[in-house]
């Protein structure tokens, strides 16, 4: 009845008209009638108006009621609408670029997009790429052109940047020492007049459009070898173009829509954003016949190395038998660019708030990723765990498909890994051969759900323990004597050079020469012989047929193994007890294989290849295979050398990285 409320003024009016009529009645009958009539007309009109108003009112009330009725279904959580930024119609960007010895910064329209005043860091040329239509930062790089080869990386990067993008350069500390002619020419071609003459400790800023105009350049020469040039601050304006001009005109397909979204946000991914002939982002590799791992979820563990992730996902999606629906990328942190890469390939990605620091952060990220994987795929019995800095072999899934039943059936197995720690170019030979090893190599491996849920997850190292998850998994309390199956030739390749425990030197020494299988559809040999008991039979058979090498020679020398092919040789080294790896470590060192800790052993036996011959190393007397040693042979003992430089410095950290 609330609807009647608007009426009072009408009532008053009505009242008044009656009152007036009464008053006029005394004066004039005629006038009274006339008045009555007008009053009635007025009243009727008002009634009509009130009615119309009422209709409108009830209509609105009904509408509101309807709104309320849907309230049960309202999202109680998110009632705060995120205000959308008004479309920026501004045509001009103000750009400020600062270059000095200890600090660089770049501000676009008053927003700082780069600021680096950290000590001992960020030396060299900082490059920022802006979208010419939106002004958004698409890439940020720093090339330490004081050091060798960095200028080559810069040239590579600049060549990848699409025409029309806005490039901003600024030098921190020193950027000319190893800036070679080629790089200087590239900078010159971008319109820089100073670049060809940049010299020791000069300060320099430059803003220009790739393949177009120059918006500004400033330079301060270093007066003397021991001093730096004065800080320079460049203020300039950049004219934005229209969005249409900034985009490529690819055919309108779902794939290209993804590509467009990606390419308008980030730079530095090469031909994927090329207008003319973009590289594909869908690969459709051949499906595998009888693929046993089609329904196995794949967890890709990633940090903030989007270029690595891009390379990794390309190789993963090109592997035969891949099932993109089962892939989830777990990003440690709220980084946008890795997520952009994930979306480019149409995969699903999950971001994880970093917990703890350093190794513990990685370890917590692993735990969250593994738990999430099994939550998302509750049917799965296994999960494939990959990292963002791995290339994946074309037959990765074929390899797993042929071996996964072992992990299901053989309780004595801990994992299947795609990585052979000792599988270098010169020590791995047979793509169809598998081993059992007591160590857990990681770097592309399969985890059994029951192992994770029943054993690992409940006692996973807590955030305050700065442990490496992989070292923890290798501890006897976790591994409980179980073994992993690995291939002779790795099905993954570790290409990461930047990382928590990784650097260029270390990568060169231990990872670069790792063998990586590129042959598709390899048929694995005798998979059943990898079962616990069968493997012992197999080893005994091998040792039985193996020729004992001449133990008087130096095992480090090439001539230690005869110049044959396809033979099986055995050598015996001294190994007093199970944990005595003195001689093995020395042997590994001179063979240039993994020597930072012990990997790839099975009951005191190592298997590798030398000169295309299968080469077995047995530790005597700790190994149960010692009985195969002819009594005439004395096991070789190699003394650890007096401490060398470097040999101790790296291992602690290095061993940790080897995941």
């Amino acid at each position: 009845m609330d609807e009647w409320k608007p009426n009072p003024p009408v009532k008053a009016h009505k009242k008044r008209s009656w009152y007036l009529a009464w008053k006029y009645k005394l004066m004039n009958q005629r006038a009274l009638r006339k008045l009555c009539q007008t009053g009635a007309v007025l009243f009727l009109l008002v009634t009509v108006i009130v009615n119309i108003k009422l209709i409108l009112d009830t209509r609105r009330a009904a509408y509101e009621e309807e709104e309320e009725s849907a309230q049960d279904y309202d999202d109680e959580m998110l009632n705060v609408e995120v205000p959308r930024h008004p479309v920026n119609n501004k045509k001009v960007l103000d750009v400020e670029v600062y270059s000095s010895r200890s600090k660089v910064y770049v501000a676009v329209d008053g927003t700082t997009v780069l600021e680096d005043e950290a000590r001992e860091q960020g030396r060299g040329i900082h490059v920022i790429v802006l979208n010419q239509a939106t002004g958004h930062v698409m890439a940020k790089r720093v090339f330490d052109t004081y050091s060798p080869h960095e200028d080559e990386a810069m040239v590579l990067f600049l060549n990848m940047v699409a025409r029309g993008r806005i490039l901003i350069f600024t030098i921190k500390d020193e950027g000319s020492f190893h800036l070679k002619e080629t790089a200087k020419n590239v900078l010159k071609s971008l319109g820089s007049q100073v670049a060809p003459f940049l010299s020791w400790r000069d300060m320099w800023t430059f803003v220009g459009k790739k393949g177009g105009e120059v918006y500004g350049e400033k330079h301060a020469k270093s007066p003397a070898l021991s001093t730096w040039g004065d800080p320079v601050l460049l203020k300039t304006e950049v004219h934005l173009t229209s969005v249409e001009d900034a985009e490529c005109h690819w055919p309108d397909t779902e794939l290209n829509r993804r590509r467009k979204r990606f390419c308008s946000k980030v730079e530095g991914y090469g031909s994927v954003c090329s207008c003319k002939d973009p590289t594909p982002i869908e690969f459709n590799p051949d499906p595998l016949k009888d693929n046993k791992v089609f329904d196995v979820p794949v967890a890709v563990i990633a940090g903030n190395r989007p270029n690595y992730l891009y390379r990794m996902l390309r190789s993963l999606l090109s592997a035969q038998g891949v099932n993109p629906q089962m892939i989830t990328v777990f990003i440690d942190g709220y980084y946008e660019e890795p997520m952009d890469v994930v979306e480019l390939f149409g995969l699903s990605g999950i971001q994880h708030t970093p917990i703890s620091i350093k190794n513990a952060r990685v370890s917590q990220h692993y735990k969250a990723s593994l738990t999430a994987t099994f939550n998302l795929f509750p049917d799965a019995k296994f999960a494939v765990v990959l990292e963002e800095d791995l290339d994946i072999s074309v037959d990765f899934f074929s390899f797993l498909s042929q071996s996964i039943h072992l992990l299901e059936e053989d309780e004595s197995l801990y994992c299947i890994s795609a990585w052979n720690d000792q599988g270098y170019e010169h020590t791995a030979e047979d793509p169809s051969l598998l081993y059992r090893v007591e160590t857990m190599p990681g770097l592309g491996w399969v985890l059994r759900k029951s192992l994770y849920k029943d054993e690992l997850e409940p006692k996973w190292p807590t955030p305050e323990k700065l442990w490496d998850w992989d070292m923890w998994m290798r501890m006897p309390e976790q591994r409980k004597g179980r073994e992993c199956i690995i291939p002779d030739i790795s099905r993954s390749y570790h290409f990461g050079i930047v990382g928590l425990n990784m650097n260029g030197y270390f990568h060169e020494a231990y990872f670069k020469k790792h063998k990586f299988n590129t042959v598709p559809n390899v048929q694995l040999k005798n998979v059943e012989s990898l079962r616990k008991d069968n493997y012992e039979t197999e080893i005994h058979r091998l040792l039985g047929e193996a020729e004992v090498l001449d133990h008087s020679k130096n095992p480090c020398e090439d001539s230690f193994v005869p110049d044959t092919e396809g033979r099986v040789y055995v050598m015996f080294i001294r190994m007093e007890q199970e944990a005595d790896f003195t001689t093995w470590t020395q042997l590994a060192k001179c063979l240039h294989i993994w020597d930072l800790d012990v990997r790839g052993n099975h009951k005191g036996l190592w298997r590798l290849f030398r000169k295309k011959n299968h080469f077995l190393v047995v530790g005597v007397p700790a190994s149960p295979y010692s009985s195969k040693k002819p009594s005439s042979v004395t096991p070789i003992y190699m003394e650890p050398p007096a401490k060398e430089e470097g040999a101790v410095a790296v291992p602690a950290a290095a061993a940790a990285e080897q995941t």
């Binding site: 009727l44 699903s348 409940p458």
Partner: protein, 461 residues
């Protein structure tokens, strides 16, 4: 003349006014009657025209999804109800042409279908085709509950419901997800602020008021009203399941806050106990489900779920509740067969029944039977050495599904009242020393068993 004219005008106007007043009355009445209905059904065309519209919309929709190879199945309670009446006939003649439009023409605003998330590839092309066919569609997305229990993972939001609207009919497509515990889950339907609240009368939807949990259904391809469609093999049991499908998510955020206050026990003993408790619970669930006995998490196990989404490591046993009306004599032999021998039996079916089974390595499984009264529910306890009886009172409750240690199990929907009744307002504070005779908030002394009954009501093994 003027007078007459004026009078005529006046009369006319009065008439208009009257008409308006009448109209006003009618309108108001109409409005009142519509209050609980929806604008949707206001515009009802001729009955037969409507009937075939529904059928046509369903046919178009089935065409749309089959062109994209998306396997959906019918879960519309109204149609399944009709189908269930003729199920034998439909099963026996899967391809027979039907003489009349019996099912898909039945009056209703929606037709509801289910889609298993993992069976399709989130193909955007579907929606483009739908638009070309004239459908308007609405997608309802929300957080992925499978990641909710995890510390700060932010996944992409997942689609929970789709609504496809064409003419005056709409298709409600409910997306089902697989959850740990081997069951299917669908999310609640919650509209975000910017969404069109009048897109369809959301209140009339059969799914979406609450999240729901279902077994994975066996499907049957049938032809009804000349349309080929998948339906649950046993529609009546599906409808039964649907009526009791409400799902409660564990309160993960509160559980995290709890662990901030009281860090979790990660000792070897705690890990071991949790593992054993989990396996006992799995075994018990399997046994009781096979018998068709409905049970729920009770006492400490329920508290563990509600407070910390996990087994309480110092609780030392697993507690389940069963309504006495669901009691079956087979329960004891079935547990015995499953490897859980009877440890003791207190009370009798008529009064205070309680069973205890011995799980592996000292983990005890306690089953309390609950007796329903007019205004409360209670279960009993018995002290073996004195024959004393105890009674634990609870407010009335209904049962909801939840996920717990990779298991789909029941808990009281009104969990807070249940837990508060049992543990009092301080239930959030962990208590390590617990006496079942005095600690519970809702315990009452209930006399003593007569000595001559002791042999029957106090059985220890």
């Amino acid at each position: 003349m003027q007078k007459i004219n004026r009078n005529v005008v006046l009369a006319l106007l009065s008439l208009t006014s009257l008409v308006f007043l009448l109209f006003q009355l009618c309108y108001y009445k109409f409005y009142l009657s519509q209050k609980n209905g929806a604008a949707f059904s206001k515009v009802r065309g001729s009955q037969s025209g409507q009937d075939s519209t529904r059928w046509h919309v369903v046919r178009k929709f089935l065409g749309l999804i089959s062109s994209h190879n998306i396997p959906v199945y019918l879960i519309d309670p109204l149609i399944l109800g009709l189908v269930d009446k003729d199920i034998e006939q439909i099963r026996s003649s899967p391809d027979g042409p039907s003489p009349e439009c019996k099912y898909f023409c039945a009056p209703r605003d929606f037709t509801t279908f289910a889609l298993l998330d993992k069976t399709w590839k989130h193909d955007v092309g579907l929606f483009r085709t739908a638009e070309k066919m004239g459908f308007q569609w609405l997608k309802i997305i929300n957080k992925d509950p499978r990641l909710d229990g995890m510390d700060d993972l932010s996944g992409m939001e997942i689609p929970l419901h789709y609504i496809f609207k064409l003419a005056s009919h709409a298709i409600h497509l409910v997306v089902f997800y697989e959850r740990s515990g081997n069951f299917l889950w669908h999310g609640p339907l919650r509209l975000k602020q910017h969404m069109d609240r009048k897109f369809v009368p959301f209140r009339k939807l059969h799914f979406g008021r609450y999240p729901g949990a279902y077994e994975k259904p066996e499907l049957l391809l049938v032809s009804i009203d000349d349309l080929k469609v998948q339906i649950p093999k046993n529609p009546s049991s599906f409808l039964e399941e649907m009526s009791q499908s409400r799902f409660l998510e564990c309160r993960y955020r509160e559980a995290r806050a709890f662990f901030q206050l009281y860090p979790d026990d990660a000792s070897v003993d705690a890990v071991e106990f949790r593992k054993k408790a989990k396996s006992v619970l799995h075994l018990a669930a399997l046994t009781l489900n096979n018998l068709g006995v409905k049970f729920w998490l009770s006492s400490g196990t329920c508290l563990g779920w509600y407070r910390q989404c996990n087994v309480i490591p110092h609780s030392k046993d697993v507690d389940l509740g069963i309504f006495i009306r669901d009691y079956k004599a087979d329960i004891i032999p079935a547990f015995q067969k499953a490897g859980l021998p009877l440890k003791h039996k207190f009370g009798k079916v008529e009064d205070s029944l309680e069973l205890s089974f011995q799980g592996e390595d000292d983990v005890k499984l306690d089953i309390f039977f609950f007796y329903e009264e007019d205004d409360h529910i209670w279960n009993g306890g018995t002290q073996a050495k004195s024959g004393k009886k105890f009674k634990y009172l609870f407010p009335k409750f209904t049962l909801c599904w939840t996920e717990f240690v990779e298991l789909k199990v029941h808990v009281p929907c009104e969990t807070l009242q249940y837990v508060e009744a049992n543990y009092g307002p301080e239930w959030k504070v962990p208590v390590k020393t617990w006496d079942w005779k005095s600690s519970p908030f809702n315990v009452q002394e209930n006399g003593v068993w007569p000595i001559d009954e002791w042999d029957n009501v106090i059985q220890l093994y």
